[in-house]
Symmetry: C3
Subunit: 326 residues, 3 copies
Amino acid sequence: MLSDSINESSKQLTKDGKLRHLVSLENLDKNILMRLLFEAQEYTQFKKLPDRIINHNQEHTIANLFFEPSTRTRASFEIAANRLGFNVINFDIENSSGKKGETILDTVMTLKSMGVDTLVIRHKEAGIHAQLVQDIGDECIIINAGEGHISHPTQGLLDLLTIQQEKEAFEDLTVTIVGDIAHSRVARSAAQGLTTMGVKELRLVSPKEFMPSKKLTSISKHFTNLDEGLKNADVVMALRIQHERMEDTNNINLDNYIKNYRITHKAMRIAKPDAIIMHPGPMNRNIEIESSLADGEQSVILRQVANGVAVRMALLNQLTKNHEAQ
Amino acid sequence: MLSDSINESSKQLTKDGKLRHLVSLENLDKNILMRLLFEAQEYTQFKKLPDRIINHNQEHTIANLFFEPSTRTRASFEIAANRLGFNVINFDIENSSGKKGETILDTVMTLKSMGVDTLVIRHKEAGIHAQLVQDIGDECIIINAGEGHISHPTQGLLDLLTIQQEKEAFEDLTVTIVGDIAHSRVARSAAQGLTTMGVKELRLVSPKEFMPSKKLTSISKHFTNLDEGLKNADVVMALRIQHERMEDTNNINLDNYIKNYRITHKAMRIAKPDAIIMHPGPMNRNIEIESSLADGEQSVILRQVANGVAVRMALLNQLTKNHEAQ
Amino acid sequence: MLSDSINESSKQLTKDGKLRHLVSLENLDKNILMRLLFEAQEYTQFKKLPDRIINHNQEHTIANLFFEPSTRTRASFEIAANRLGFNVINFDIENSSGKKGETILDTVMTLKSMGVDTLVIRHKEAGIHAQLVQDIGDECIIINAGEGHISHPTQGLLDLLTIQQEKEAFEDLTVTIVGDIAHSRVARSAAQGLTTMGVKELRLVSPKEFMPSKKLTSISKHFTNLDEGLKNADVVMALRIQHERMEDTNNINLDNYIKNYRITHKAMRIAKPDAIIMHPGPMNRNIEIESSLADGEQSVILRQVANGVAVRMALLNQLTKNHEAQ
């Protein structure tokens, strides 16, 4: 499985090791992550990128292909692309060829043939982005904007950028992620990025029903007790709880989850006093996170949102440059 | 209640009395209305604003957040923003985080954090725009694009502009609005604007079932007889009839409404010979208005549509300037 | 009927015979087709049109009004318009005034009054585009992007361009279209264009249940036997099969269709060795066309998609120039 993963990961690179697509943060080189974070950090300083900086050969067209609904990720990519002067085309897949039985590869090939340069794709099917890279990765840029439970790499990047802004060095950090780890693409991508950046400890906290069947990364440790997971943590990330999934599960219910796993002011007393609190959004206030905590001093939740645009600008810019250099 | 309204209204102004948001026309100063109408009138002369005129510090991004469906208002804002060189992002809220239980404040905060400068919001909940101004009005511009039965201020502005183009002085005018006054945000905003502009008479005509529980403005007079309402009117505005609402009401039915309240050539004989006919659209032809009348010489219905773009350009431009001057 | 058609067709021309709207390829002059194909061919050479070439008086706004769902046609128009520097506004009609009972003419008049210059309309109702040209064709440009079973003229144009790129002269060509001819707007527009361009033979192949009640054009020959239709063909076009329609028909079922009419490697042996294979998309792989054939050397299916953008750029540019010259 590991060698498979390496192979998967290498497909997103050019022959000389530059980032060509973004499928997954798994096994992605630390230097690549750091270069993205560096450029993204620059973009956080400017509301809009001065036109001079970007100087691509031609106008670039991005298609947002969201097979699952999204406000924030789609908007974040759209704003990032607008700031780089790219054209953006949005697809509401419910109302389109997806219904007509066309394969996703044919949809993507069609858009590529129309001159779309970059495809930002959210899809519930695991492996679909890697498959598309294999099938048409020579001709256009594929970006994973959410892949079932598997991966959400741009969310992982914005999490890294936010932590880097707030804390000194990844090597000294204990990071705790709390929620439905088993079904969370956010947790997986964050865990992969944090592992590459070399955090000291990576703790994943969930009821045993939400525990993944295997370890997320080589360093991840799983806890069912919130206090144990939060003890001396530098960074605490609450995941969104999917109500509907909760109801399908016999052994767990929402009240029990809230009682034992909600991130509250009280629970945070066991973490470090300067710990930051993260959430990928959209939030269920007072379910996975105490509402006033989300708005409090430790919260960096809106900073995450702002960083999402910066990270996507850096990603789009680097992928476009690497694509044109091919 | 009146003092509440004044407080509500003052929230949309800067400390030195400039327009900072648009929540409601109620109690909005006549000078502010006139400045908007003056600038809007200029824009009606030009299909596209010359780029030189607008010189904002940076590219401006607008989000259209429509929690209720709309073609015309959303398109009108989008075209107005395009002409000012702003970026526009549209949200179909049915397919987005709205479904996922996120509060509207969190959605708006998220968009603001991504760098959205102006939020154009349609929502059925009364008071939501004022609430958003209070919560995040320091950081971005809030524009009411429709608020339940309560308010639709940009519609009111385009109605004022259209009347001003066609008639000499507001002080000499008798304006008659016909339809479901009780549930009409169009009637409320028009009534507020017309009252501020000082029309001579403001008549509201409806079956008693559609009569509002209290007077719309200090000068409004309510009629249940169409002829009495139309007598010597200078301006006649027919409201859109909501079929579905009609069926829910025991004491009134569509046939009776048509018989007694449809604006027809015959009914218009009692108004002034040069009276103009208005309708906010979309029209139910031959229900609330005789079809040939809508297309006739007295009709200014398409002029209203064109003025809608001009008024929104003026509004977006002034709010952006006042925002940047803060 | 023929004289009616000529009248219909003439409405899309200016008095001096230039193209003013695009309603149908029927009876459209060969010179007009050739001028569009010539300009479109230029655009295929450039990913993006250099800004200098286009020099319209003002920024042009296009509205995509799709009353039936579409990914590819809508995206193709949007990309073409973006490359010409036009503004594009998209409408999802399910969520808009269409639901509120407004007539399509009122919707279009409204958009025109807002300053929309060109309306790209897909609608299931036959004759609606011609009607709109008659009603408001002096004021804005109407483009047919799909009209029930009747017409899909920009698809016809991209089919012509693709054939012209691949083959020497239309006069020498045998073109075979296979599928549900009776209900295909793609077949009708292609047949009309090919007839005007003077192909040697135009063959339409379908089960007798899918045979149209009258000849598509003066030169079209209808076959129920695939081999007879394919014999020595230079161009083979497979139409998309609508599963749902299939199930409604007693005398035909999908298995029989596949057995007798699917375009396969084997079936193609009877066509010319250098025959090209076309499909309007979206494809049902292994239903109307053998999957590997669609991806094989003879296939020009993705070329068709690319040509769709070029053809729509040429069309938008010429219609805009002819409109401004009025």
